[in-house]
């Protein structure tokens, strides 16, 4: 009977395509909206996520997200280095300045100053040039998309010049960096150069990056740093979440975008549920005939669930594929949309949502079939 149920499903090509299309559209809507929201939130912590060589970020305890910097005194660096279990601790500068291109074009940029000696906290992925080139005077590494903003229409390449705070900077490398929330170009340079390129406050040290000694318990080390220095030490994941939480709780973004995501889910649920329910209701007379001929309620239930499972699986596969293609294409063709992707767990949540929606629609519609008076076929 399951085979017959599936044949009933695919018998009318137009209806079948409409049903699968409806589910696929709903899945795409849910996955795409939720993924964009996730991508937007991850952008807020992009510069935290991109520092791959440190175990801990150390900061003033009043810092609640990465952009709200409370500078530290230079002595903080020495105090952190003195904590047992610290392998190395390096200064990290984060600031904003205005870059001037040779043609006079102005562009606000992030300046990230990494340790002069170790270059710890440098670009995560180098596309052209080497991180070691940062040791040259006035050297900067710029992120690929940032270079396109500053030199539109030109292939990003080392050798280009910039001015920041009336000082000349030379591009020595092109890096791939996570898209920041504000989409400003990201410029990496040595700590000492950064203080010249971005006018520093009285205390220039933004953060301290810490690597734990081999075998050291990182959480215990973070607690020890906090206890001994009075500074806040966080794993990068915790600092990223702290930043994301700030945007979630202190800005209107989650409410505004959350409404869009919620609408995506509601519209998706309505499309999936209603489409499937209409399909079952349209087949009610056929179910009635089968019931009259002796099909049990259990078999009817299995038939509808088989139809629901097929619709959900095919519709989900198409919809999630479309969402993935959307991010793949837009990520390649539109620099403003880079960094947005389809997280596996969003795909999993959408799958769960589709299963729930389809089950609810199945139960709602099968109830009609199960309570159907088989005598309907004589009417």
């Amino acid at each position: 009977m399951i085979r017959i149920a599936l044949r009933m499903l695919t018998g009318d090509t137009a209806k079948y395509v409409g049903l699968i299309g409806g589910v696929a559209f709903a899945v795409m809507l849910m996955a795409q909206q939720a993924s964009i929201f996730v991508g937007l939130m991850l952008r807020t912590a992009a510069q935290v996520i991109d520092v791959v060589d440190a175990d801990l970020w150390v900061m003033d305890p009043r810092v609640i997200y990465v952009e709200e910097i409370e500078p530290l005194p230079e002595s903080a660096l020495w105090r952190v280095r003195g904590v047992a279990g610290v392998d190395w601790a390096t200064p990290f500068f984060k600031g904003l300045t205005v870059a001037r291109a040779p043609d006079g074009r102005l562009q606000q940029v992030f300046v990230l100053g990494v340790d002069d000696a170790s270059l710890a906290g440098g670009p995560p992925v180098m596309l052209q040039g080497s991180v070691e080139d940062l040791r040259r005077p006035g050297a900067i590494v710029i992120d690929r998309v940032g270079a396109l903003f500053i030199w539109p229409g030109e292939e990003p390449a080392p050798g280009k010049m910039l001015e920041m705070a009336d000082r000349r900077a030379t591009v020595v490398g092109i890096a791939e960096a996570s898209a920041p929330f504000t989409t400003f170009p990201v410029i990496y340079t040595r700590y000492s150069e950064a203080l010249r390129f971005a006018p520093p406050p009285r205390k220039p040290l933004s953060y301290i990056l810490v690597r734990a000694q081999a075998g050291e318990d990182i959480d215990a080390l973070a607690e020890r740093i906090t206890a001994e220095t009075g500074l806040l030490a966080l794993r990068w994941q915790d600092f990223a979440w702290r930043t994301i939480r700030y945007y979630l709780t202190r800005t209107g973004i989650p409410i505004n975008f959350g409404i869009t995501v919620a609408l995506g889910f509601i519209v998706g649920a309505a499309v999936v549920g209603q489409t499937f329910m209409i399909f079952v209701l349209e087949n009610l007379r056929q179910f009635g005939a089968l019931k009259a001929m002796g099909v049990s309620n259990g078999t009817l239930l299995r038939m509808v669930l088989a139809q629901a499972g097929a619709v959900a699986a095919i519709g989900y596969g198409l919809g999630i594929g479309l969402a993935a293609v959307f991010f793949e294409v837009t990520g390649r063709t539109n620099v403003d949309l880079r960094g947005f992707f389809l997280p596996w767990w969003v795909a999993a949540i959408v799958a769960f949502a589709v299963v729930v929606i389809i089950l609810v629609a199945s139960v709602a519609s099968i109830r009609k079939a199960l309570t159907l008076d088989p005598a309907v076929v004589f009417k």
Partner: protein, 238 residues
């Protein structure tokens, strides 16, 4: 001839507003092995309700119904489904063929319901369709068939599992006179045999001649029973 179906004092109430309305009043009827009985009468007289009860689709409010000695009135829903699956063949007025299945697959449905694989059941159904002159159309979808051909597929579906009891609801209502006559002829030839009872609900007097007996109903009661050729002829003329 022994009775395949026996109904004694069958009454049926349906809910109506705050109370109930009685649509069948103490029906006594038996359908014998090897006979075709026609239930006739005006619309709303209770014909369809009566065959629904005899076929185990509806339960009677009062009375006793036995099919091959089995009490049909007090079956649980699952037992009623099993009874219909094993014992009854159905022919519906609107055919109720599944549009996405071929004629052979449609005719095979009762076998599939009983647990056979669709492809094997369809092979058996093809033989029944052959017997009804539908062999050439076995692989066609219902939308490719005429009304008469669809009715023959419905007849094949009612016969394929060789049930001892067949109920037909207005089998000629959707057919023109020639097709209706042909459908009744084939039903008569293929369905009526020893050990099986066939009950046909109709209000088409042109097919009365195919009956062994005719029960005429009015207002939920059997008011006349034509039991021989002369009586049937008189009823047809009236």
């Amino acid at each position: 001839m022994s009775a395949v179906v026996t109904a004694r004092g069958v009454a049926k109430d349906f809910p109506s507003g705050d109370g109930t309305i009685r649509v069948l009043h103490g029906i006594d009827l038996s359908v014998r092995s090897g006979e075709m009985l026609l239930l006739v009468g005006p619309s709303g007289c209770g014909k369809t309700t009566l065959i629904s009860i005899l076929a185990g689709i509806l339960s009677a409010t009062e009375g006793a119904i036995e099919v091959l000695g089995q009490d049909v009135r007090h079956l649980t829903p699952s037992a009623a489904a099993r009874f219909r699956r094993e014992t009854v063949g159905f022919i519906f007025q609107q055919y109720n063929l599944l549009p996405s299945l071929t004629a052979a697959e449609n005719a095979a449905i009762p076998l599939v319901i009983r647990g056979e694989r669709l492809d094997r059941a369809a092979r058996k159904a093809r033989a029944v369709l052959d017997g009804l002159g539908m062999g050439a159309h076995a692989d066609k979808l219902p939308k490719q068939l005429s009304g008469g051909q669809m009715q023959r597929v419905a007849i094949a579906r009612a016969l394929v599992h060789e049930p001892p009891f067949i109920v037909c609801d207005e089998p000629t209502a959707a057919l023109d006179a020639a097709s209706g006559h042909e459908a009744m002829r084939q039903l008569r030839e293929s369905a009526v045999r020893p050990g099986r009872a066939v009950v046909v609900v109709t209000h088409d007097p042109r097919v009365y001649g195919f009956a062994d007996r005719i029960a005429r109903m009015e207002d939920g009661r059997i008011v006349e029973l034509a039991e021989d050729a002369a009586a049937i002829r008189r009823m047809t003329e009236h």
